[in-house]
């Protein structure tokens, strides 16, 4: 009997050990789930917790440079509704914030700040509630709501984009893309907005790729001067067309023969023959080098979500294609932002500032949390060369193709473009800055499929200059 009891005890001991081990294994597995898998589970797109936590506090406001509300949260019952007072005017920049359809624009890129940046202390448990913000932080943009509105209205019913930057800081003053949408209506109108073949959700300033056309000639002029393939006084005889062996013919847009003209005159009339010739003189290596110098191969940073420019494969370009590239045609495609930055380099003594959209982050009471200082991005050219091109661009607006951009009492510099494209009528372009002797604003205007830059885009730029310089 005693022996038998010992056997029973021995077996029970084994069972106890086995079952208690199972529970200890559970403890290890629980640790695995709650510690190792934690980040994956928190970040999982189907986990609505983060979203719900954010909905319990008001999202921060998005403000323009002078405090004008571009987006704010209004309390409706238990939750908050996002309001966009400027509606479609700044839709692509500011973006939308929808439970169902996610976020775009600043609402997306600065979501962490707008939600109060509370995620980093979530791991502190109950203690974290003492440290979390009771509201999101405000994002103050560099945008000037008045200039933005003027640019939006200037574009009228055209498709296209206008971007204005402060050349000495890189601060973006206006960023308009058309057609647009009303972010207040994103949930109700999602189907129509998202399937519209004109892509209203697309921010054409940073995501639209266009051939730059003749606006690129300012850069070729700089390259020709820098590489000393032409003197300021030197004249080239321009016929109505340039024959490029073996079988390419580069024509002037109105087939006029300009005769003997120098660089400044050629830019003022936007001579294709002249700049085609310069491109051939430069050769593909120096041409490629120029695009590189002006940053066309580099990203301006994550914040603006800009798409990369499309450059031709220079080493395999024939002479005809090289000349085409020199007048901004061929396979070359760039964003409007790039062209505004190109203009700004001649306005800012040869320096390009990194373009930026967010000036600072403030808390609910307006106290500063973080500022974004202007930063130099590239120095593609010298102050001296920039000054030369600046002068030539003033001439374009004074008595060249860009006269429609001129403002009384203000020295305006610019360059027009009429870019041929596969989609239909030419795109109208204007890039420039004002005042040329003390630049406050650099601009790029593109109006899709609407004709001549000088007659369509230049007057729009004029309106924006006027609004910005008031």
């Amino acid at each position: 009997m005693r022996n038998d009891m010992n056997d029973l005890a021995k077996n029970i001991r084994k069972v106890a050990l086995g079952l208690l081990s199972l529970l200890v294994i559970l403890l290890f597995y629980l640790t695995y789930i709650q510690v190792v898998q934690s980040d994956f589970l928190i970040a999982h797109s189907l986990n609505r917790r983060t979203l719900e936590a954010f909905r319990m506090i008001p999202r921060g406001m998005i403000l323009d440079k002078s405090g004008e509300k571009l987006a704010y949260s209004k309390k409706v019952g238990d939750s908050f509704k996002r309001e966009y007072p400027y509606g479609s005017i700044a839709a692509q920049v500011v973006g939308y914030d929808s439970i169902t359809y996610g976020r775009s624009g600043i609402e997306s890129t600065f979501n962490r700040d707008l939600t109060g940046n509370n995620t980093s202390i979530a791991h502190l448990g109950a203690v974290s509630h003492l440290l979390t913000n009771r509201s999101g932080n405000n994002v103050v943009l560099t945008l000037d709501a008045a200039v933005q509105e003027t640019a939006y209205k200037a574009l009228g019913n055209h498709k296209g984009a206008i971007v204005a930057i402060n050349p000495s800081t890189g601060a973006i003053l206006a960023m308009v893309s058309k057609p647009s949408f009303d972010p207040n209506e994103i949930d109700q109108q999602w189907k129509r907005i998202s399937t519209d073949k004109n892509s209203p959700l697309l921010n054409r300033v940073t995501q639209g790729l266009y051939p730059p056309g003749s606006t690129l000639k300012v850069m070729i002029a700089e390259a020709a001067r820098r590489e000393k393939v032409i003197d300021l006084k030197e004249k080239i005889y321009c016929e109505a067309a340039l024959k490029i062996p073996p079988d390419y013919v580069l024509q002037e847009s109105h087939l006029e023969a300009y005769g003997n003209i120098n660089l400044e005159e050629a830019l003022a009339v936007s001579s294709n023959v002249f700049f085609g010739t310069l491109s051939l003189k430069l050769g593909y290596k120096k041409m490629e080098n120029t695009f590189d110098r002006f940053g066309f191969k580099r990203s301006v940073g994550q914040e603006l979500q800009e798409v990369a420019s499309h450059l031709p494969d220079f080493s395999s370009l024939g002479d005809g294609d090289l000349a085409q590239t020199g007048i901004g045609q061929g396979s070359l495609l760039v964003t409007p932002l790039r062209m505004a930055m190109l203009a700004s380099s001649f306005a800012n003594e040869g320096k390009i500032m990194r373009p930026y959209l967010v000036d600072k982050i403030t808390d609910l009471d307006g106290s500063l949390i973080k500022t974004f200082a202007p930063a130099e991005w590239l120095t593609p050219t010298t102050p001296q060369l920039a000054g030369e091109i600046n002068k030539m661009m003033v001439r374009v607006v004074r008595d060249g193709t860009g006269t429609a951009a001129s403002l009384p009492g203000v020295l305006v510099a610019g360059k027009t473009g009429t870019a041929e494209n596969a989609q239909g009528d030419s795109h109208a372009w204007f890039i420039g800055f004002a005042p040329a002797d003390n630049p406050q604003i650099a601009i790029a205007v593109i109006v899709e499929n609407s004709g001549f830059g000088g007659s369509i885009a230049a007057p729009m730029a004029r309106q924006v200059f006027k609004a910005a310089l008031q």
């Binding site: 009891m5 029970i12 069972v15 640790t31 709650q34 898998q37 609505r48």
Partner: protein
């Protein structure tokens, strides 16, 4: 042995402070002090203290850890129920009160445990009858088809059946342990006693399978099945029983997997919940989100979102603890169970009669299996089974039956003290 009760009283006070703290935290998070809830936990605390005094008065020398461990688990359960379903809080308080009375009755009555051995077949019939009643007349409430409704009373018979089944198996097996040890028949590599000695085991096994198939109650099936096999192993010491039992269960499961789509679904969900996270696997995926979001420290009481999990206050209450109290809280709960189950096995090993050894060990096994199955299901370690978490999940049947079970363990733990004197 008065210091055992004194130790118990001190530990009960610690558990009471923890419970009061949690209830206050939930109250304050809502910005108002609800005196009703504070009164209720005071009542529960007083109930445990009163139980301590009664045990003191009758000179009971049972294990001083059982009651404090139960009161801590009950406290955590009440805190989380107040946070999840405040409307069920007072009902749960009432059930804990009833459970305490049941504990005392059971602790005192079970002193005459040996007499129950004479009524083993009655116990067996009651146990089987309770299970069968659930199978035959079971009503589906909240996804589990194991409720019996008799007029105003509704309960889950399977919660109580386990006690009777343990009593029956313990009595039956301890009487026949020589026969089982000296197995007579050889089947290939396996040695088995004559079939007529293990007929009742086969009956329990079949019952388990029946529950599995008819009630979709995989948890209860596994519980009873595991109980029968492990208790047989304990008296016989033959692992062949365990192996044969596991093979039988595996074969049965594979057949069921192919025959029944709902079982297939459950297993598939377990194997890969991320293939259908918004459909069939919704509940388990939400449970994992809750646990993962809780992390080590938890979100803090009332600051998480455990209500995103359907049925969170019964089957998934552990996930809610994991989210709001973190790994620290959920791990502590597992440790409390480990401690309680350890003391139960210790009770068994210190007991002097084979029958009471078997009863205590059987009750420990049932508690361990039940805790393992439900927690493992919630954290996706094992396919999900719809059984309750002892002392924590909401529900009268679960609370009362576990207090009765604890009372029996408590009573058995005394015998040794009595003999040692």
């Amino acid at each position: 042995m008065i210091n055992r009760r004194q130790l118990e009283r001190n530990l009960l006070m610690v558990a009471g402070i923890i419970m009061l703290n949690g209830i206050l935290a939930v109250n304050l998070a809502h910005g108002v002090l609800n005196y009703q809830t504070l009164g209720a936990v005071t009542f529960i605390f007083a109930g445990f203290m009163a139980a301590n005094i009664v045990l003191c008065k009758v000179g009971h020398t049972g294990d001083p850890l059982f009651l404090p461990l139960a009161s801590l688990l009950v406290g955590i359960g009440l805190i989380i129920i107040l946070r999840l379903k405040p409307e069920l809080f007072m009902l749960q308080v009432m059930w804990v009160g009833v459970g305490l009375v049941a504990f005392l009755i059971s602790a005192i009555l079970a002193k005459r445990l040996e007499q129950i051995a004479y009524f083993k077949y009655i116990c067996g019939f009651i146990g089987v009858g309770l299970l069968l009643s659930a199978i035959l007349f079971g009503v589906d409430i909240g996804g589990n088809k194991n409720w019996i409704i008799m007029g105003p009373v509704r309960f889950q018979p399977s919660e109580f059946a386990k006690i009777f089944i343990v009593l029956f198996l313990a009595a039956y097996l301890s009487e026949r342990r020589e026969l089982l040890t000296l197995a007579t028949k050889h089947y290939g590599p396996f040695v088995l006693p004559h079939p007529r000695f293990i007929a009742p085991l086969i009956a329990v096994w079949s019952l388990g399978m029946l529950m599995f198939v008819l009630q979709r109650d995989m948890g209860a099936a596994l519980l009873y099945f595991g109980l029968a096999i492990i208790m047989t192993y304990m008296v016989s010491g033959r692992s062949s029983y365990v192996i044969i039992g596991m093979i039988a269960f595996l074969v049965g499961s594979v057949i069921c997997y192919h025959l029944y789509s709902h079982i297939q679904l459950r297993v598939d969900i377990w194997l890969n919940p991320w293939s259908d996270p918004s459909g069939g696997a919704y509940q388990i995926v939400q449970s994992l989100f809750a646990l993962g979001s809780g992390g080590i420290m938890g979100s803090g009481l009332t600051y998480g979102f455990p209500t995103m999990i359907p049925e969170v206050h019964t089957d998934f209450i552990f996930a809610a603890i994991g989210e709001e109290m973190g790994l620290i809280g959920a791990g502590a709960v597992i440790l409390l169970y480990i401690l309680m189950i350890y003391r139960a096995f210790r009770t068994s090993l210190l007991s002097l009669m084979p029958f009471s050894m078997m009863v205590a060990a059987g009750l420990a096994v049932s508690m361990a299996l039940q805790t393992f199955l439900i927690i493992a299901g919630v954290i996706k370690f094992f396919p999900l089974t719809g059984i309750t978490l002892p002392f924590i999940s909401y529900g009268g049947s679960s609370i009362v039956s576990n207090f009765i079970l604890l009372g029996m363990l408590f009573s058995i733990s005394e015998v040794r003290g009595y003999d040692a004197k």
